[in-house]
């Protein structure tokens, strides 16, 4: 999710691309441009350059492969495998056309991905908000330990849970089904959603809901009318992150899914066959996997930025 791509039109040009880095995060409040040059100013200008260059390198590192993938997906077979990298070429939609025609149509894979990732992210946000709110507001002893335990389940490697989960799923008949994948994704998305949402709720002053309670609300009403609207950016952030995690999953899908539930990453892996790799189609699938998530990120970037910094919960 590359939010750093967004243009910073409101930022004065002299300030360079490192606004957020300077002065413990209050970059916007840093000295205005056009101030007299002091030695201090001089050295901070230099460090700004250094930071700018580092950021540019990081940006290239992230974007070039993506860009290359995008370009390759429009190349024909010879251009894609050409020994000299081809930047100028005659674009073709053949790779995409081939993906959606023939015996192994990509359509169902996309649909499975959308269903599994979407439903699991939605469930994770709903359940995570409820549990996170409880966790944020409870006074019980050992609350910190409980919170840590919850998030620690997210840290366990997927390989450790795949086998027991497989046995459980087989017993319940959840293998090769969308509900099975949704459940599987919840195992890693729910702890994350609870933990993240509880951090957002903790930021909302308790007096706001107390005020609502006194005004005549039930707890549920106070939660719905006062607390939830204030954590909108948290909900969006949590949803998008859960969506991305689930969307990108390969480990669970490869074990639990079958013909009725295979997702996009599985489709990509199926192009790697013993007779060779179809690079053109592979990069086309890659593009289909990456672009929707990128667009989703861009669409909600206003919420993501405030959400990821845990700021602005109270609407300031």
């Amino acid at each position: 999710m590359s939010t750093s791509m967004t243009p910073r039109s409101s930022v004065p040009r002299q300030a360079g691309p490192d606004q957020a880095v300077r002065g413990n995060g209050h970059g916007i409040l840093a000295a205005p441009p056009g101030m007299p040059q002091s030695p201090l100013e001089e050295s901070s200008r230099r460090s700004r350059w250094v930071v700018g260059i580092l950021l540019a390198v990081a940006l290239l590192w992230t974007l070039v492969p993506l860009l290359w993938m995008l370009l390759s997906s429009f190349k024909n077979r010879t251009d894609v495998t050409s020994a000299t990298p081809q930047v100028l070429f005659a674009p073709t939609l053949d790779n995409y056309r081939n993906l959606f025609t023939g015996s192994n149509n990509l359509g169902p894979y996309i649909w499975h991905s959308v269903l599994a990732a979407g439903i699991s992210a939605l469930l994770a946000v709903c359940l995570g908000a409820l549990a996170g709110y409880g966790l944020a507001r409870t006074q019980m002893r050992g609350k910190k330990h409980l919170a840590f335990w919850i998030i620690s389940t997210r840290m366990a490697p997927i390989a450790a849970v795949v086998v027991p989960l497989f046995l459980i799923f087989r017993g319940l008949g959840l293998i090769d089904s969308i509900p099975g994948l949704v459940l599987a994704y919840l195992t890693f998305n729910l702890p994350f959603a609870i933990w993240l949402m509880s951090a957002f709720f903790a930021e909302v002053p308790a007096s706001l809901e107390e005020s609502a309670l006194v005004a005549g609300c039930t707890r549920w009403q106070a939660f719905r009318t006062v607390i939830l609207p204030l954590t909108k950016s948290g909900l969006v952030t949590t949803f998008v992150l859960c969506l991305v995690f689930a969307w990108n999953d390969y480990a669970f899908a490869v074990v639990f899914s079958g013909p009725n539930s295979q997702t996009l990453p599985i489709a990509a892996s199926q192009l790697v066959t013993q007779t060779g790799i179809d690079w053109g189609q592979l990069t086309a699938i890659g593009t289909i996997v990456v672009v929707p998530m990128m667009l989703a990120g861009l669409a909600v970037r206003r919420w993501l930025v405030t959400g990821l910094t845990l700021g602005a919960v109270t609407g300031e």
Partner: protein, 372 residues
Amino acid sequence: MARVLYDEATRVYPGSTQPAVDALDLDIADGEFLVLVGPSGCGKSTSLRMLAGLERVDGGRIAIGERDVTHLPPRDRDIAMVFQNYALYPHMSVADNMGFALRVIKVPKDERNRRVLEAARLLDLEEFLDRKPKALSGGQRQRVAMGRAIVREPKVFLMDEPLSNLDAKLRVQTRTQVAALQRRLGTTTVYVTHDQVEAMTMGDRVAVLKDGLLQQVDTPLRLYQQPANVFVAGFIGSPSMNLAEYRVEGEEAVLSGGTRTRLTRETLKALRDEGTDRVILGFRPEAVEVVGDADKDHTTFPVTVTVVEELGSDAFLYGQYADATDPALREETVIARVDPTAPPSKGARVFLRIVPGKEQLFSAGTGLRLPT
């Protein structure tokens, strides 16, 4: 409109052994403005939150009107609360904030708007109705918080330090406005503050708390003139009352350094009953006269002036007991109101005398007021 009753109401927070509010007894009349005052951590907020239903009552009971509300949830108590940080909903406009409670209880839109507008007019908020709270000044936010309470037309107003986020000047202005508004609406009000000047100027009656225990509840004037114990004596009044420990010799109280004050028969009897020869004598800064060198006698004591505070209409002298042999007393500061047109100068040595009959006496053992 309702009477509010605390009956031995007690709150012990989980994990602590000391009650935050200990068997509080308060009977607040219908329409009364009662102020809860005391130093930080004395249990004022806890008392108020118990009445609001935001804090459990671990012992005793609380009633609003004829109804025992001890175990009712906040929403069934028909109260409105103003929080210290105002707790305005950031995502709602001023109008929506003020009408929120009415919307919750499903008051029709027309009436809701009418009541919001009425309150806005009363508080001079009409032009801000469409704004979000973050676009308001501190004073305006405070008024919105007040407005939100008024619109509700509750049985009781609860206010927890609603003025403490305002600057000094605005605080004084708002103080009178809030008091006037309450008189006009005639709604029973419980008001928490740590500022004793606020308490004295606003309350019909003032309840002084310390360590979760009610010290005294009375009108501001009676609190000032007849504090029930040393704590109230020292807490109420600005500048505060001078308190010094005297030794009882015969029928007189003697200060370290030799100054003597006659005690009444009632006082002496009370001291005899207690079996002590120590007494705490208190006197307000205005209960002191400065006497010339020529007039000094066994009832006067010398003071070295350390600071003179000139306020225009008043002047206060801060000094040290010059003759005290007791090291503890030497550390004490004595405060006296002096003639603002001819205040003594810093470093001067002046003689003070407590105006006869203006001293207040307290037991050195229990701190309780002694009869005079």
